[in-house]
Amino acid sequence: MRVYVDTNVLYLILRPPPASDPLLAWVREWADRFASGLAVAVVTPLVVDELLYRLLLALARDAGSDNLLADLRQPNSDVIARHGDRAASLVSSVLALPGLEIAGIDGDAARRALEHVRAYRLLPRDAMHVAAATSAGCDVLLSSDPDFARARAAIRWIGPGVTV
């Protein structure tokens, strides 16, 4: 099974929520599936971009930054200087995982994403994920974001509580 993995899944693996959060068991189950070869995880540069950005925010927040946006947008942002290496290293480890594949995004996918915005009322990024997932030949899209359920005519969404 080829599974398009949304950014939030990889983020939850890198920063697992507390045991009381039902997302923990869900993401753990999928990590085990990828690790055992029962499913192939597919990501695109979109996911890489989002994951890197989210990790920068999380690391900066952990370090005590109280105005992340301002910190990030200042010239020669200190956030990048302080946390860029660590965030890039984490993403690099993810991309090197066995059973994880990086697929590209082409012009056709971009055009299809525009159709998905209209057809499924998806946010632009989400529409791009759906188009990228179908281009990469994925069977399902794995995400904690239930908005993807609206695109069921394009690809099957699996989220917490949705069985395979």
């Binding site: 099974m1 950014t7 939030n8 983020y11 939850l12 693996i13 890198l14 920063r15 697992p16 929520p17 507390p18 009381s20 959060d21 997302l23 990590a31 085990d32 599936r33 990828f34 690790a35 055992s36 070869g37 029962l38 950005y53 989210r54 990790l55 925010l57 999380a58 690391l59 927040r61 952990d62 109280d66 105005n67 992340l68 946006l69 990030l72 984490l90 480890s93 993810v94 090197a96 995982l97 066995p98 059973g99 904690s144 974001d145 509580g161 949705v162 069985t163 395979v164």
Partner: protein, 268 residues
């Protein structure tokens, strides 16, 4: 498997066996599909899935099974039963109830743990093809040295599993822990199941690490370390990134996140 003409009779026969024992087909994700009816003449199988896409049990009828090309459209359940007919070679033998191994110990037809095997395995329940967590894994025994001693180690295990230890001596610490568990849970040791893995080409340590991680047996005291020659297994590599960026908070990424994160995301 043979050609298209052969595939359905073989599949029907195997499904008939499975309907008798254990009664179900399991998908790779662990969902059990109980076999209600196998109609060889019509090419139909009726299953009761314990968990459908909606999360509820439902009855599934697979038709057109006489034709392999058409049947492949049935998806994950069909792929699972096809694998049962023509399983990928796994190297696993068994499982056998321990009672059977003991009773047939001088039967030349009874498969026996070979000296050069690389892994032996004890479970509470039966498994099919390859062991999975569903069979209640109890113990995985690895043979990491070069000596060919799996037969002896299984014998050590069986001796202690049947209570033949004491006075500060024994043969197999895993067997002793299993014996204590059998006493506590009133499970006769002869009802447990034993299987083993042969794969002369495989790295013994990597294999042990991989199956320990896959099965998480209840009575292995410690997980084996990564292989010195080959490094971490795929599972260990996934395990290494788990929590690598620290502990997250509930809903940190999605619904109702940290206001700063959410604001930054929206304004991006």
């Amino acid at each position: 498997m043979g050609g298209d003409a052969d595939w359905w009779p073989m599949l029907a026969r195997r499904l008939g066996e499975l309907q008798r024992e254990p009664g179900y087909v399991q998908t790779p994700t662990g969902v059990k599909n109980y076999i209600l009816r196998v109609d060889e003449r019509e090419g139909v199988v009726v299953l009761r899935s314990e968990q459908s896409r909606s999360g509820n049990p439902r009855t599934i009828t697979l038709g057109m099974l006489r034709s392999a090309p058409r049947a492949t459209r049935h998806g994950v359940i069909l792929r699972a039963i096809r694998d049962l007919v023509d399983p990928p070679r796994t190297g696993w033998t068994g499982p056998f109830p321990l009672r059977r191994l003991v009773e047939h110990c001088i039967d030349p037809e009874q498969p026996w743990p070979p000296a050069d095997g690389i892994l032996y395995f004890v479970s509470r329940r039966i498994w099919d093809g390859t062991p999975s967590p569903a069979c209640e894994p109890l113990y995985v025994g690895g043979l990491t040295g070069r000596s060919e001693r799996m037969t002896t180690r299984v014998g050590d295990l069986v001796a202690d599993l049947l209570g033949f230890f004491g006075g500060g001596t024994g043969h197999h610490s895993g067997g002793q822990r299993l014996y204590e568990w059998c006493l506590e849970h009133a499970v006769h040791p002869l009802e447990l199941h034993v299987g083993w893995l042969e794969d002369p080409a495989a790295c013994r340590r990597c294999t042990e690490v991989e199956w320990n991680a896959r099965l998480t047996p209840a009575f292995n005291a410690v997980a084996p370390p990564a292989c010195r020659d080959h490094g971490p297994t795929p599972r260990q590599r996934w395990e290494m990134i788990w929590g690598a960026a620290g502990a997250g908070q509930t809903d940190e990424f999605t619904m109702d996140p940290d206001p700063a994160l959410e604001r930054a995301s929206r304004e991006r």
